[in-house]
Symmetry: C2
Subunit: 456 residues, 2 copies
Amino acid sequence: MNKEIPYKIYLDENEMPKQWYNIRADMKNKPAPLLNPGTLKPMTADELEHVFCKELVQQELNDTDAFFDIPDEILRFYKMYRPSPLVRAYCLEERLQTPAKIYYKFEGNNTSGSHKLNSAIAQAYYAKKQGLKGVTTETGAGQWGTALSMACSYFELDCKVYMVKVSYEQKPFRREVMRTYGASVTPSPSNHTAVGQKILDEHPNTGGSLGCAISEAVEVATTNDGYRYVLGSVLNQVLLHQSIIGLETKAAMDKYEIKPDIIIGCAGGGSNLGGLISPFMGEKLKGLADYDFIAVEPASCPSFTRGKFAYDFCDTGMVCPLSKMYTLGSNFIPSANHAGGLRYHGMSSTLSQLYHDGFIKAVAVEQTSVFEAAQKFARVEGILPAPESSHAIKVAIDEALKCKETGEEKTILFGLTGTGYFDLMAYRKFNDKEMSDYIPTDEDLQNSFDKLPKLS
Amino acid sequence: MNKEIPYKIYLDENEMPKQWYNIRADMKNKPAPLLNPGTLKPMTADELEHVFCKELVQQELNDTDAFFDIPDEILRFYKMYRPSPLVRAYCLEERLQTPAKIYYKFEGNNTSGSHKLNSAIAQAYYAKKQGLKGVTTETGAGQWGTALSMACSYFELDCKVYMVKVSYEQKPFRREVMRTYGASVTPSPSNHTAVGQKILDEHPNTGGSLGCAISEAVEVATTNDGYRYVLGSVLNQVLLHQSIIGLETKAAMDKYEIKPDIIIGCAGGGSNLGGLISPFMGEKLKGLADYDFIAVEPASCPSFTRGKFAYDFCDTGMVCPLSKMYTLGSNFIPSANHAGGLRYHGMSSTLSQLYHDGFIKAVAVEQTSVFEAAQKFARVEGILPAPESSHAIKVAIDEALKCKETGEEKTILFGLTGTGYFDLMAYRKFNDKEMSDYIPTDEDLQNSFDKLPKLS
């Protein structure tokens, strides 16, 4: 029988994971390799090392080793803001009057406001170890850029962030956090790069896009000595680092003899979902335990539920390698959904393979219902959630209400990836009932699918 | 000898304090009573109950009982975001290369972003218990209003917040958090109240002031059935509730056999400082242990270091009772310091008495140096601190650097009251080197002192 479960379970420092877990090692069907867009052959380590840090390339390509030691320097940084709490949502359960038991792993208690810091500190560490001067990246809403600027500041690395111009102007708070941590933040497109200048010449009034910002960041990394490009989601290495979320969760649950029936995560590029489910999925793949995994995506950007499983470009600029994944097409223009972190056209190739093989379910939810769930959660659990995270809350509540109907005492676990302190203009729209829902038509999607690269 | 100290010490739930501690019970010289501004006689419970909740009035007036049981409903809410971590600042120590050991009690890991929630939930609970419909309050920067809106939402109480108009317009994010938690937020002065209307008639373009917002909130509470007024600092009851900070800190330190030599807190109205030091001060008053207590205030609003110990009005509208305290005069207009929570002309009467009796030291620090300390801290400890909290950081760093000179291995404890996520326009000024320091002249202060009420 279970011990009495506290509201928040914190592992002791000596119980914190010392290794990351690489789910690919236990997958029978491995995720397909990245392809060189020129040759259409698998990207080699040599090719990738022009763009990414050496050791991160090794992590990216390794689909056989199940565990990677977490370097001491990273463990040390993790101790500043980890372990994150595994919270029993007693108050939410009571408000819903559900027999279900609800838990959430809360990753928002750090200044970046999300789980992104878990991979940012790892990527900054390997850049430092390689003797680099600095790293470049893009950011949209700003969570990843904030996390990376914190990590670079800690290791005294230069950090150049290309921020989508419209966000740069509309989210001055995020920009100032990054600057306070010493990063340079440039609105993209900029005239610092050839690709940025070209876009500015053609579209002088553009607000920019994530795809353009990626292209600028990659150009700066590859044309400046001592710089590499880093990315906050989608890649295998990111899922590896984010496995810390799931490993801590599993250790905390094992300690109290809790076994989740349903595990829910929001899914944009897949960094949080992949990290949260990794060790549980490992058990499922090995036949040691069974869990229901649910990926939640916005109905406005439904990669899993309405996308194609195909090779596609990771960026809209089409300069990055091709990845086999569930995709809406790199030409798909996501609508103005407030969950900026989930507005990616593709999905981690690892999660895509697992979904394709039937190990994960997916649901798409509409924006207004997500904010209703966010508000309900905030009022009883005392945390104002990020719009991204609220997708998982919405489905956790739905599942708990199903239990209320059936009387089942299921244990539901979801990932609460971050806080909504920098998303209050979205909350304002919700509070003022000005929020709209948007779902792409089949025709919209078909137009985008028609432009997918033809590989043979 | 000490056990190995983790980066973060979390008490177990069963180690959390079950009672608040009332420092007044152990003071030989009690704080002077509140006076009725009309009769100049001590305010009676009957008089106070027109404005405040009944049970809170009892707490306000009780200077003999050392401990008050924390009601179960409040303990339950505390478990959602408490215990707060006591953090060993290993990274800051290393960066400073100091032999000092630095600890901070971090109160920012909740959506209100500060310690204010500790008293908000208590005040909301007693209002609910009394069967009230709701409460009214004022807010400047918005921390207290946010905390109260969260607490009222939890107990399903109506919450009417009067927010200084200039903040209402400049801090839309705070306003939206409060609205998301269901509070009504009115820019003050408003035409909802007689006092607001009068000010608007005289000064139609005013940006408002905290004093005016207090007057409006008190008017609404006293002229509407089922409402009472609540306040987030200064009062004895608030210090009582905030003793949870110090009690948790002391329990955590005792557990690891740590004894602080110096205890540092920022001081505006005194809610955080009073809460943090309470149990340590109790030991000092009883001669059981010795500690150095340092109150840190902004040089622009130096109540302790340059104020008078005298009876004065708690509000600029001069409708509230008179309190004996260190004050700059209720007519003193604090300059545009970004640490909005420290811009109060007076100080808790309990802390004022302790300071007067020599149990607390005080220092005043300038704004730019505070932000320099904040940035240094943020970069190594991973938390972006509130400007208020950063006053304590500044002096903790100064003390640690003194230890570096002398070689003393002192143990320094400070209160990190909250996060700076809603203060990023202040950080922008700092990042752009547009921040200025302002210190009132002796003449400014004398002009204000001349208007102090004459009691005899």
